[in-house]
Amino acid sequence: MLSVFNSINNAFCNTLGISSYMQGVVVLMCINIIAVLGMSVLTGFTRLFSFGNAGFMSIGAYAAAILTVRYNVNFLVAIILGALAAGFVAFCLGSITLRLKGDYFLITCLGFGECVRVLFNWTKNLTGGSAGFPGIPAYSNMLFSVVCTILAFFIAWRFIHSKYGRNLTSIRENEVAAQAVGINAFRTKRLSFVFSAIYAGWAGAIYAGYLMYIVPSAFNLGKSCELITTTVIGGLGSLTGSVLGAILVTVLPEVFRSMANYRMLLYGIAVVLVIMFKPTGLYGYKEFSLKRTIAWFKNLGKGKDKPAAAEGKEDK
């Protein structure tokens, strides 16, 4: 099945003339988008912070890797199980730690992420330890990643734009008021946490099938920070903003290759500037809309005599 699957992708890419380098960039972009979407639901919509999402990514990656290599499980099943494994761990962790307040929750997430990494390093028989886990089948071709990303976006969009998303947002806006209208804050937060972990695990599973070789150190605290950074730059409380952020963060370094050394420095500066001057990011609390963007460009053409229609109200 895998070979048929990959040849479809190759045929597709050959017809469109997409180089393998480009395919790689697209796959990485897709992985980032999925992980950042999860982060966006958690941080942007629920205002919960997690430094543990790299840990969930590694759970998804290792679960998928071990299942496909050791147990010959079909890769589709392995990806689903990988994502669910991450979600299950998040459910257990969240059940314990989400009752803790703000920064106490944060530190336990962070600790969790680090512990997972240490455990994967330590369980050499199962995971290969710090030397890495090789020989994962190359199931994450471009076409597959793109399909996954579209599906992920669709699910997240429907999730946010239904009662589930409304409940999350009410927690973000005012937890006491949310409870006063009958919303179970703890369970709502846990749902958000699990959702975000499933997405992280999903992204991790695709990552494993793309690199075909994973090491625990790829999922360190820095990776979690990168996910948060991307979410913030893209815009808290906006799914389209998160996608845009993830695309920028993947594509820009490829375009400005010569600046590779400065990449992380520029991320840092970007985050500080965004949070200082436009804390809701590129598309904070708003979704991308073609109509508004066109209106915005039209106004640009007319000069600055009219306030841009695209500008909504700033949050305070």
């Binding site: 920064d103 600790g111 420095l265 991320y267 500080v272």
Partner: protein, 290 residues
């Protein structure tokens, strides 16, 4: 052997305590985890490296300049970044994201300027030991322990006995109320950042002297975070207690279990303590007012 490890643990814990107290002070005032706090230690350590190895200054002078540098950078971040974020009135999470961004800026800048190479101070102290009660104790550990103890005692004096300390406690308790009573809140916050920067600078240099100096050494800020949570966020004595506990546990686990499981044990301990006492060892549980 155990006694030896214990002294090392307390000495490492002391370094964490220097960071954790500053971190805790800032938390008590602004209710936010200054994620970039560890970077001030890194900045201090590097400045001391520059002045003692690249420029012809005696180490002690270089160290003092390093401490001042840590304080300056800490003060600047408050003045330029945090004050601006606070003025927008957004949630405290924004402060933390800003701090996270700053942390990455400092680390990357250090990496670009100094490369990832490990650097050390121009003296041989780390290896020399003395024999006390049958155990070999590192001279550096002892010196570090003594310096830390003196500074922490001095810090407790400032907080508990001076007008400045009273103001700080007042703001921590009720910022608005303190303002009404004529406390200059912003200037007080600035001073706390300077103080915290100094403490971090000392911690950075001691840590650098014990191990080495490298661009991501600021990650010991994380230990400060863990220590403060362990002891109870916002409580200075709690931060010291948490830090010393953490130092001892880390050293003992490294010595008797496995150094690769060191962080695993510290985090596991943290989670267990939070489950039993959700507000940390010396923390006060504050109920939200509706």
């Amino acid at each position: 052997m155990f006694f030896q490890q214990l002294i090392t643990g307390i000495s490492v814990g002391g370094i964490y305590a220097l960071l954790a107290t500053g971190y805790s002070l800032i938390y008590s005032l602004l209710d936010f985890s200054n994620w970039s706090h560890g970077e001030f230690a890194m900045v201090g350590a590097y400045i001391a490296i520059v002045f003692s190895t690249m420029l012809p200054f005696p180490f002690l002078v270089a160290a003092m300049i390093g401490v001042a540098g840590g304080a300056l950078v800490s003060w600047l971040t408050e003045k330029v970044v945090y004050r601006r974020i606070r003025s927008t009135g957004g949630p405290n999470m924004f402060l933390m994201i800003g701090a996270m961004g700053l942390s990455s800026v400092f680390q990357q800048a250090a990496n670009l300027i100094f490369t990832g190479q490990y650097r050390s101070y121009p003296f041989k102290l780390p290896v020399s030991t003395i024999k006390i009660a049958g155990a070999y104790i590192g001279v550096l550990d002892l010196i570090s322990l003594i310096i830390t103890a003196i500074i922490l005692i001095f810090l407790m004096y400032i907080i508990n006995k001076t007008q400045f300390g009273l103001n700080v406690r007042g703001i921590a308790c009720n910022q608005w109320g303190a303002k009404i009573l004529g406390v200059k809140v912003d200037s007080c916050i600035s001073k706390v950042f300077i103080l915290a920067g100094c403490l971090a600078g000392v911690a950075g240099i001691l840590y650098g002297a014990k191990y080495n100096v490298w661009p991501t050494m600021g990650n010991i800020g994380l230990k400060a975070f863990i220590s403060s949570v362990l002891g109870g966020l916002g409580s200075v004595p709690g931060a010291i207690l948490g830090a010393v506990l953490l130092g001892i546990i880390e050293t003992l686990v490294s010595a008797y279990v496995s150094s690769s499981l060191r962080d695993f044990f510290s985090f596991a301990l943290l989670i267990v303590i939070l489950l039993v006492k959700p507000s940390g060892l010396l923390g006060v549980d504050v109920q939200d007012k509706a």
